[in-house]
Amino acid sequence: MDTLPLPDDSTAAAPPTPDQLRELYSLMTAVRHLDISAVAWQRQGIIPGYAPELGQEAAQVGSGYAVDTSRDFVFPTYREMGVARAMGVNMVEYMSTHKATWHGGLYDPMKSRLAPIQAVVAGSVLHAVGWAHGQTLDGSDGVALTYFGDGASSQGDVHEAMNFAAVMKAPVVFFIQNNGWAISVPTERQVAGGCVAGRAAGYGMPALQVDGNDVVAVLDATRHAFAHCRAGNGPVVIEAMTYRRGPHSTSDNPGRYRSLDEERDGAGEDPLRRFRERLLSEGLADEPFFAQAQASAATQAEDIRAGLEALGPRPGSEMFDLVFQETTPVLQSQAASWREESEHV
């Protein structure tokens, strides 16, 4: 399961340069900081809810960093803040979904190359396959990268997507973050066979299972998978083994289903600290660099908070105007009576 024959154009999957490694660290630091801040903002009432990605920074930043936003397209779930950040998405617009401003987020998916936030578990995995097949039909070389969880792997749509992709040789990377939990249900009660990557062989697809807490390993696997897809070899499964260190969401209380001991044992090493030690030991970064990354992360989070606080509610008329490209008389008349009644009050 763990090997993927490199396509000819192997420079596409070259190892990261020192600059890139430092950039990865800065990104992970920013993501970690924003994630912890968002939980605090929820407690402070600035946002009504949030789904933390604590512990998944390496899996998210490593994979998102591999995306070529000039041609690829990414399909997130509700927990891919780190991917969005690594891809350079406007983070106020991204976080607006958690402020309950607009479900899909306010960012432009076409410009960002990131599909709208998806709250249906496994909801967009098939979209990635369709988009990828569109590349084949167009003769383009974009690759679809679709994220989902260990829990999502149980959904029928994931099977249909893998089968379609493999039958059609669509350029899709199925990126599973196996974070050990689907809300309260641990992987061993969710994923028969023990891992999602093990399913790929049944579809005649290669799979890479990687240490999802090692950002370089994740980046490397993702780059390999992209190169494989781009060379016309069909879909690839990547399963990044990681851990959801926080609650499922700010509404969740993990104490009801796992003990602190279990958390400590399951979580393994902190991906951020681990990367930091690696950079230090390899002499690629020093304390001032880390301090600077941290300070920048704090500034970014502050800016995002300010942006979120400045964000007013969307005008109610958007409810009506954004349903269709071509509106209907019924919607227009509903909009008119909505306007009348809300102005009247």
Partner: protein
């Protein structure tokens, strides 16, 4: 399914010239739909047709007959047997700039795809604030009447019509089929195109040059005493009923609703303000069927002129039955006549 239903027509079309100089061609609805798809593929290089058995076989109803060999395997292709997959894939293709025209093989097999239809196709334009339009035309051979196996005779229009973000249309004859499909398949929004499968092999005049307005409802027969509202296969039946009633001096207007979402309330109200009586006919079960919406729109718009409550003649609140009982289930001429009678004889209590 009996064999005869699936046998395509291979003969050439018979042409006649109308008074206005338009050329009308006699063809079956299957032929009209096939021709419309052929033209859509020719006119829009981004249009793609796919589904179960759509390619080489040309569909179990032959609606896509010959299209793969003419337009190539990239434009018309078979998928694995998974409806959620077909519709989910449509979303991605639309995001990539295509105009997908998927087929669900039979009405009842839209259910496995409902999640993708309701939560994804219908909402992606909204969720993405208009940046990811979903120009998806989902063809669904629909309704009953062909003595088919279970799940092959369903009427899902009430479900689809309730879903924000979908548009729903159903043609009643070859002419409507040709024009409405060409219109639907060039829209930037998702349209569920419900084909009345029991009418596939009925022939009728198609004037390809002049379809009239593709929007809203259409009066298929004018009348003064009562309005019959119907769609799909029930329109032909209502026209038959109107002929019978005419023999008794009852002059019935038949309104072909065509668009089941958005519903053309103005046309309903205009017709019933004139006739002051209405019966709505559909195959789907009564409760929470689209007939309730139609009746309420009429009542809302014609309350002061209505002579009797709007009557509904529909399928029963039972699962669509096997062939032996389907004539008991689908509104037949007698049941529609009884409904008309109840309305005509209504006296305020």
């Amino acid at each position: 399914m009996s064999n005869s239903i699936l046998e395509g027509e291979t003969a050439g079309f018979r042409q006649t010239e109308s008074a206005a100089g338009n050329v009308t061609v006699v063809m079956s609805m299957q032929q009209a739909l096939n021709r419309a798809l052929d033209e859509v593929l020719a006119e829009n290089p981004k249009a793609v047709i796919f589904g179960e058995d759509c390619g080489r076989l040309g569909g179990v109803f032959r609606i896509t007959d010959g299209l793969q060999s003419k337009h190539g395997e990239n434009r018309v292709f078979d998928t694995p047997l998974a409806e959620s997959g077909i519709l989910g894939m449509s979303v991605g293709l639309a995001m990539a700039g295509f105009h997908p025209i998927p087929e669900v093989q039979f009405d009842g097999f839209a259910y496995p795809a409902i999640n993708q239809i309701v939560c994804q196709i219908a909402r992606m334009n909204y969720r993405s604030r208009g940046t990811l339009p979903m120009p998806i035309t989902l063809r669904v051979p629909s309704f009953g009447g062909i003595r088919a196996p279970e799940h092959h005779g369903e009427s899902l229009e009430a479900l689809f019509a309730h879903v924000p973000g979908l548009k729903v249309v159903s043609p009643s004859n070859p002419h409507e089929a040709y024009h409405l499909l060409k219109y639907a398949a060039t829209r930037p929004d998702p349209v569920i195109f419900m084909e009345p499968k029991s009418r596939y092999w009925q022939k009728g005049d198609v004037d390809a040059a002049d379809g009239g307005s593709p929007e809203g409802a259409k009066v298929q027969r004018e009348g003064r005493h009562l309005t019959l509202v119907a769609w799909g296969a029930m329109v032909a039946r209502c026209l038959q009923v109107a002929e019978l009633a005419a023999e008794d001096g009852i002059d019935i207007e038949v309104l072909d609703l065509r668009w089941l979402k958005p519903i053309d309330a103005d046309a309903l109200v205009a017709s019933v303000r004139k006739t002051r009586r209405a019966v709505v006919v559909h195959e789907a079960p009564l409760t929470s069927g689209l007939g309730a919406e139609v009746a309420q729109l009429i009542t809302q718009g014609c309350f002061d002129t209505l002579k009797a409550p709007v009557e509904r003649v529909t399928g029963f609140d039972v699962p669509y039955p096997s062939g032996d009982l389907e004539d008991e289930y689908i509104p037949n001429i007698d049941r529609i006549l009884f409904g008309i009678q109840r309305v005509l004889e209504y006296r305020r209590g």
